[in-house]
């Protein structure tokens, strides 16, 4: 196929990708958006396949085999994954982009074509491989953490900021040496060294970040995977890669920014700050008072009498897989004439928008699922707030206690309601290690036990009560 036609196909793909992102602006157009994305991708792949020149029959069939195999593996993974495991899945997919970018970088270096000897090309290869390697190993660590295969606690090495700096310098130095090396073998050694250091840096960067900061990490890796693709585009002189990479890169960057703002922290604080380390928490005032609990029977009566109920889900709901029971509870209450709504904090869960996906999976209509800013003023007129597996995002200390490490973070003001019930497994503090004064408030009741069991018991009691 001629180059002109290929370029036009790429242009069309770019437009489709922009339309895809545009489609996600609301739920009605979202599915069409995804379809645009698939069309764009199909177009680009097909055009490229037809445009490859000079390959042998063997290389064509091998490539075909790789594409088919990849598609099959991808479909199986996507079909099998549970909605609660979405964060792991996304992280794992990011690692593939990173790995692919590293491999393309190496292939490109071994097969420079008419770029051979260009200084800019060498720099581009170095940048592509460095970002790709960081994305790859970082995503793998994020995957392992989210899948609970390794501890979600932040790994705090002594002088870790110094370590990061040293590794960065190492990457630059090996990169320069790679560019200056005479002969392909010497260059290859430096390139491998740089890849190794980048990989270590990826591991260290993500290992140092704790469980609840994962929304930021995942979106950051999302961003990296975009910049990787853009770097590959520069390397290969391919505008489609550059455009797509830039789109994805800015998307991830914006998501990271939104998550950080929702936690009232800067991105640097999330990446390099020792959040959750003991030193930060000791200053917070320890709230005093009595924790009152409530049993399913009493709560059932409260829910039956309530006119306005807001449910605030957190990561605990995902862990307990309670979303279906919550949906049942919601529909029973709605049948009873109660107005039930959901309040979602931007960083609830381990992915941006995680709670929305879980509730959607359980058939909860999206028009009763509201964002923090939309619902925060309504707590005052709410009879019962049911907090399921959330803690830090409903901590009044974030507003009132300057000593609290989460001071200044916007939170859902559940304590303004007439009654706030917290479903929790135990009295333990949330991820941030901050004690929650909400537990001791007069209008707070604790419902101890597994979220799914307790909500199911509520459903049974409500059914029996009518």
């Amino acid at each position: 196929m001629e180059t002109v036609l290929l370029t036009i196909a790429y242009l069309a793909s770019s437009v489709f990708f922009i339309l895809a992102l545009r489609g996600l602006s609301n739920q009605e157009t979202a599915r069409a958006g995804n379809v645009y994305g698939m069309i764009g991708m199909g177009l680009a792949t097909l055009a490229t396949f037809l445009a490859i020149k000079g390959g042998t029959t063997a290389s064509y069939s091998l490539l075909m085999g790789a594409l088919v195999a990849g598609s099959v593996i991808g479909s199986i993974m996507a079909a099998r994954v549970a909605m609660t495991a979405m964060p792991q899945m996304v992280a794992l997919l990011h690692s593939f982009v990173g790995a692919a970018a590293v491999l393309v970088g190496f292939a490109s270096f071994l097969n420079p074509g008419d770029h051979a000897g260009s200084a800019i090309f060498v720099v581009e290869v170095g940048v592509d491989i460095a970002i790709g390697a960081i994305t790859f190993t970082g995503s793998v660590v994020a995957f392992l953490k989210l899948d609970a295969r390794i501890s979600g606690k932040p790994l705090v090495l002594p002088g870790r900021n110094f370590l990061n700096l040293a590794m960065l310098i190492g990457i630059v130095v090996t990169g320069v040496l790679f560019g200056r090396a005479e002969g392909i073998e010497a260059a290859m050694i430096w390139l491998l060294a740089m890849t190794a250091i980048s990989s270590l840096m990826g591991i260290h960067l993500v290992a140092a970040i704790g469980g609840a900061d994962m929304p930021v990490v995942v979106s950051m890796l999302n961003s990296y995977s975009g910049w990787t693709a853009a770097a590959a585009g520069f390397m290969l002189g391919n505008d489609l890669l550059i455009i797509t990479g830039a789109l994805v890169g800015s998307s991830g960057a914006i998501l990271s920014y939104i998550m950080c703002r929702a936690m009232n922290r800067s991105i640097w604080n999330v990446i390099f700050g020792g959040f959750g380390t003991p030193a930060a928490t000791s200053k917070a005032a320890t709230p005093e008072g009595e924790v009152r609990d409530i049993d399913v029977e009493a709560l059932t009566a409260e829910l039956q009498a309530a006119k306005e109920v807001i449910i605030v889900p957190g990561y605990g709901m995902a862990v307990a897989r309670a979303q279906h029971a919550v949906y049942e509870l919601t529909s029973l209450l709605r049948k009873n004439g109660t107005r039930v709504r959901f309040g979602i904090h931007p960083v609830a869960g381990r992915l941006p928008g995680h709670m929305n996906v879980l509730l959607a999976e359980a058939n909860v209509p999206y028009d009763i699922v509201l964002e923090m800013d939309e619902i925060n003023e309504d707590f005052e007129s709410t009879d019962v707030v049911l907090v399921i597996g959330a803690n830090d995002i409903v901590n009044p200390g974030a507003e009132t206690d300057p000593g609290s490490p989460i001071y200044g973070m916007p939170v859902l003001k559940v304590w303004h309601s007439k009654m706030c019930v917290m479903s929790k497994r135990s009295r333990a503090a949330g991820y941030a290690g901050v004690d929650n004064p909400l537990f001791y408030m007069e209008n707070t009741r604790m419902l101890f036990g597994d979220a799914r069991d307790k909500v199911s018991e509520l459903v049974t009691a409500l059914k029996a009560g009518r």
């Binding site: 990708f17 895809a20 992102l21 545009r22 996600l24 609301n26 979202a30 995804n34 764009g40 991708m41 792949t45 390959g55 490539l63 790789a66 990849g70 598609s71 593996i73 991808g74 996507a78 994954v81 909605m83 899945m89 996304v90 982009v97 790995a99 692919a100 491999l103 292939a107 490109s108 097969n111 074509g113 770029h115 260009s118 800019i120 999302n222 995977s225 990787t228 520069f234 290969l236 002189g237 391919n238 505008d239 890669l241 550059i242 455009i243 990479g245 830039a246 789109l247 994805v248 800015s250 998307s251 914006i254 992915l351 941006p352 928008g353 929305n356 999976e361 209509p365 999206y366 964002e371």
Partner: protein
């Protein structure tokens, strides 16, 4: 210590200072004996037998006053009663020391220690013994019930087979404890409720009960310390009167509760306002005892003017005698608990609540108490106001304007210098190509920036999996590399790359589709 509960002698008073439950608690608290005058609880539906069952001794009038070391009463002692009180006894009741000087002098002569329930300071800690608030709450409720009994229609709107009945419109003037209770009761009956108060701080409380908060256009703060209102300026009062005259045309029921401490009740509901009202309307003047808020009020009576009933009752708490007695008794119990109970009973002058209520201490005049800080609400209201500017200033200080434009300029300049000095002679094709790609890149970042901000937060997870899928576009690079000339190493590496990218594309798109299909209304 012997506690005595005499019968209330004030005419029309149905309450009693202690119910049988109160008596039981007094004995449990360690008071050795409780004497109850025969028939003391009769009007409040507490029989003598019930008191005896609770552990009290029922005694005659004379014994009830003369034998008690601690006399608990509702109304202040009458002249006759004063003479019978034991020398050096302790008396707790309503006193209104400002207007009851002769009584205080007489009791002082008998070395009595006198505590006034009406002088308990309005501090958070003393809320549990604040009998005035407890009674105001009852009064507010009862006022609505009285209004309903004088009003010739429903409170709630009704759609009956025989026709539609509109809801009653109720205006509450003064949103103190009684006013708020009245709002709640009237709302409970289904009326449309409006409320007016000079203190802007109560707006939220009014609205939280479901009433509309009326305002005048003149700006003035009516908070006068101690949680009470103060006297307003003439302009304000004029505007207020206009508002009331207007409202009078619309509302069916007016309940006025406006009181200013130490002054006669302000005249708020003028004659012309009454004349503006529809016949059959009702004015409940809860300030009748202090002269009334309505110009036409006659204390203790119901008068009719132009078909409008003006109710000037003064004994609302007494009309719910059982509950009033129970709650008054609880206030007494709470006060006595703070004073050490039966075993450790003493007058602690450093206790703010006790000091505030203390009128006579062993015959010595202790009233009025030294001035302590004013209303807790006022203090609270001031605190955040004072604290607010600080964080704002801090935020400004730590968040300087970020010079993005300057940074971009420096980067571009740096790029130009780098290219100028690393390349000799005319720009190579590679450099030109790079610059062209850079242009595309920067523009694409801007497009991405614009598009992504419009994505709804609920779809952030699908956004991530979708962008993830399209970042699999790197497959294009991998595919292009499979046709190189330099051997199998590059081929294998690119094939693996293509495989991984394909997993990414298909997996990401499919999972996005799965998620998006779940979002439904």
């Amino acid at each position: 210590m012997i506690v005595s509960i005499p019968r209330e002698t004030f005419s029309g008073e149905c309450r009693v200072a202690a119910s049988p439950t109160t008596v039981k608690k007094l004995l449990k608290m360690g008071f050795e004996k409780v004497l109850v005058e025969r028939g003391a609880g009769e009007k409040a539906s507490f029989s003598d037998a019930a008191y005896e069952q609770a552990g009290a001794s029922v005694v005659d009038t004379a014994a009830a006053l003369s034998q008690g070391d601690l006399v608990l009463k509702v109304r202040a002692l009458s002249d006759a009663e004063t003479g019978r009180v034991k020398e050096g006894a302790h008396v707790i009741s309503y006193v209104y020391p400002a207007s009851n000087k002769p009584l205080i002098e007489k009791l002082a002569a008998r070395k009595v220690t006198l505590l006034a329930m009406d002088c308990i300071p309005r501090i958070s800690r003393a809320q549990k013994m604040d009998a005035l608030s407890a009674m105001s709450n009852i009064s507010g409720y009862r006022a609505v019930i009285e209004a309903a009994s004088h009003f010739g229609s429903f409170f709630t709107a009704q759609m009956t087979a025989a026709g539609r009945v509109p809801p009653a419109k109720v205006l509450i003037v003064g949103a103190g404890v009684a006013g708020l209770a009245a709002i709640g009761a009237a709302r409970g009956l289904g009326a449309v409720v409006r409320a007016f108060d000079t203190r802007a701080a109560v707006r939220e409380q009014v609205q939280s009960l479901g009433a509309e908060f009326l305002e005048v256009l003149v700006k003035e703060e009516g908070e006068g310390g101690g949680g009470y209102a103060k006297v307003m300026s003439p302009e304000y009062i004029k505007a207020e009167m206009e508002l009331f005259a207007q409202q009078a045309k619309e509302v069916d029921i007016v309940i006025t509760t406006a009181l200013i401490p130490g002054r006669p009740a302000p005249k708020l509901w003028e004659k012309r306002a009454v004349e503006n009202m529809k016949p059959g309307s009702v004015v409940i003047d809860m300030a009748a005892e202090q002269g009334g808020n309505c110009e036409l009020t006659v204390p203790g009576q119901v008068v009719v003017h132009n078909g409008v009933k003006i109710v000037g009752l003064t004994d609302y708490p007494s009309r719910l005698p059982t509950t009033s007695s129970e709650l008054y008794g609880n206030c007494l119990l709470n006060l006595l608990t703070d004073m050490g109970g039966g075993t450790g009973y003493h007058v602690d002058l450093s206790d703010e609540a006790v000091r505030g209520a203390l009128v006579l201490h062993e015959g010595a005049l202790m009233w009025p108490p030294p001035v302590v800080e004013p209303s807790p609400q006022a203090a609270q209201a001031q605190k955040p106001a004072a604290a607010a500017p600080a964080p704002e200033a801090a935020a400004k200080a730590v968040k300087p304007k970020r010079p993005y434009t300057a940074i971009a300029g420096v980067l571009l300049l740096g790029l130009w210098l780098f290219l100028k000095f690393t390349q000799t002679g005319a720009a190579s094709p590679a450099t030109l190509a790079f610059l062209q790609h850079l242009t595309v890149f920067v523009l694409a970042v801007f497009v991405g920036w614009q598009v992504i901000w419009s994505v709804t937060p609920a779809l952030h997870t699908p956004l991530m999996s979708l962008t993830n899928a399209i970042s699999g576009i790197i497959i294009v690079g991998a595919m292009l590399q499979t046709t190189g000339t330099s051997g199998t190493a590059a081929l294998i590496v690119s094939l693996v790359g293509a495989l991984l990218a394909a997993i990414n594309i298909v997996g990401g798109s499919y999972v996005t589709q799965r998620m998006l299909q779940m979002f439904r209304k």
